[in-house]
Symmetry: C2
Subunit: 317 residues, 2 copies
Amino acid sequence: MANIHEIARRAGVSVSTVSRVLNQHPYVSAEKRAAVQRAIDELDYTPNRNAVDLIRGRTRSIGVIIPYNNNPAFDRMLSGVLNKSVEEDYTVTVLPTRYDPEKELEYLTMLKTKLLDGIIITSRANDWSSIVPFAGYGHIVACEYTELEDIGCAYIDRYAATLEVFSFLKSMGHADVAFTTARGETSISTRLTMQAYRDVFGEVRPCRCLDGCTTLKDGMDAARHFLEGKVRPTAVYANGDDVAAGIHQFVLSAGLRIPDDIAIIGQENQPIGQVLQLTTVDHQLFRAGEEALRLVTRGSRDKVQIPYRIIYRSSSG
Amino acid sequence: MANIHEIARRAGVSVSTVSRVLNQHPYVSAEKRAAVQRAIDELDYTPNRNAVDLIRGRTRSIGVIIPYNNNPAFDRMLSGVLNKSVEEDYTVTVLPTRYDPEKELEYLTMLKTKLLDGIIITSRANDWSSIVPFAGYGHIVACEYTELEDIGCAYIDRYAATLEVFSFLKSMGHADVAFTTARGETSISTRLTMQAYRDVFGEVRPCRCLDGCTTLKDGMDAARHFLEGKVRPTAVYANGDDVAAGIHQFVLSAGLRIPDDIAIIGQENQPIGQVLQLTTVDHQLFRAGEEALRLVTRGSRDKVQIPYRIIYRSSSG
DNA sequence: ATGAAAGCGCTAACAT
DNA sequence: ATGTTAGCGCTTTCAT
């Protein structure tokens, strides 16, 4: 590929003039501008972005740290990020960690190496203490609430949503409620869910709580688990609509009725939940993703809460 | 951030020596290497990747052109790409086009600007004639079959799969079959589907074919469309499991039985199809994505076919 | 084994 | 208005 010098030579001007027309600066005569443009067209020239980014120190590119791809929740957020990135004219790089802390730090280092202007953390594997230092090299926005000064966030109020769900179930007469979670008490989601449970129903008994659930099949296994005791719960709050759908299937196949024998509430408002008429908590993760991108491109450290909505359907009575 | 000169000064060596230890070259004495390492650690130094990429002319980064995010099919491919990218140590940038040809060309230009080593095209908005020239600047791999020399591909045999589906339906006694598609005859998928239909059933009547379907709701509308005539089809081949699920719902709500009154076959083997016991064509798009990444990182122009599998469930009788 | 120096392709301050 | 020039931070000959 030709470079800026070749264009300059061919147009009979200096490289600065070429640079000026490239960056639409004023103070370039119409003739020279035309000559430069001609040379550019003739040689089909495009500036080398590595050189531009090197000298500018910015890339208009941001990264999205995501534990798993092909997970409804994270995909929604990523989708929101991508959607907004187009209108903000930023490029987005996906950084899948599988919750490997080393990998995550490696990705964060891309701020230091100047490859990324900012990073959105949808879910993290490291403690904040090892993440915060990277905020010195680029903007970091999280999809969870944090009081840290250096970190912006577009977060959902999972505690409030969960509290509302459990309170609703209680008001409907449910006293024995079970729930599923995805990844143990290392995750804030799980901790907040358990806290809300305690605040409404008291102690969390092992037989009413199952971790490690993400897929439809996990939901079926969870339902089997919840139903195997002599006393069975009368409602289940699943950590996703896929899981809820699995529970739904197993419950029906066990000859029980929904919601009469067991009420089910899911999360994320997925199509599968619509089909099965599942009540669901829509955390509006798409909007969270959009907001996260908006924040990170502005270098904002604002704390923005994304409101949730509960969509009541027949599965919860 | 410190740069290589500072490290050199601090370690009392030249920049070339620093560069050598950075790139694990031989011929560096143990003492100097240690001194350099100490300086690197003390200053918490990380090389600027823009500078490295500029001089090397490579980035170990590839782009994935994708029309829509949050579409089961494209998400599967993207997921496969990402999965493989981790083990191949490449970074992937998502390039959403919404089938805007201009946007797509803009993305392809990232090969010229040296930002990307290669690009995977999951689905395109431009003619090959305007895409091929970019192959001169970086590797291009498509997720559709093409004979073009310059383009590698990891493709699915949609015609064969569709032919098998229609032949199966015919063998089951279905003579009046409908189908849905996503985006008109500009898309190869649609063209291949129509071709297979003609080859098995003859003429494609407008009342047996509905375009613009991607979501569950589209499926419900499609079913309404197919059922409104006096004679209704006895089977529908949907272009995705979400669409098939919508059809499923509408058919049931219309008081008809599946598969007795109407057989349904979907595509992509999504969880929703598993729940509804939908027969489905699994095109193994995840594998296609993995293979595409493998090809593009190797600069290969091989043509690799990804086999499909039909998963028979009760919705097709 | 090590260093000096010439770039990679571009931007921008400075001079004219 | 336009050109000269000094970098941005790194790799890689080419000497020694």
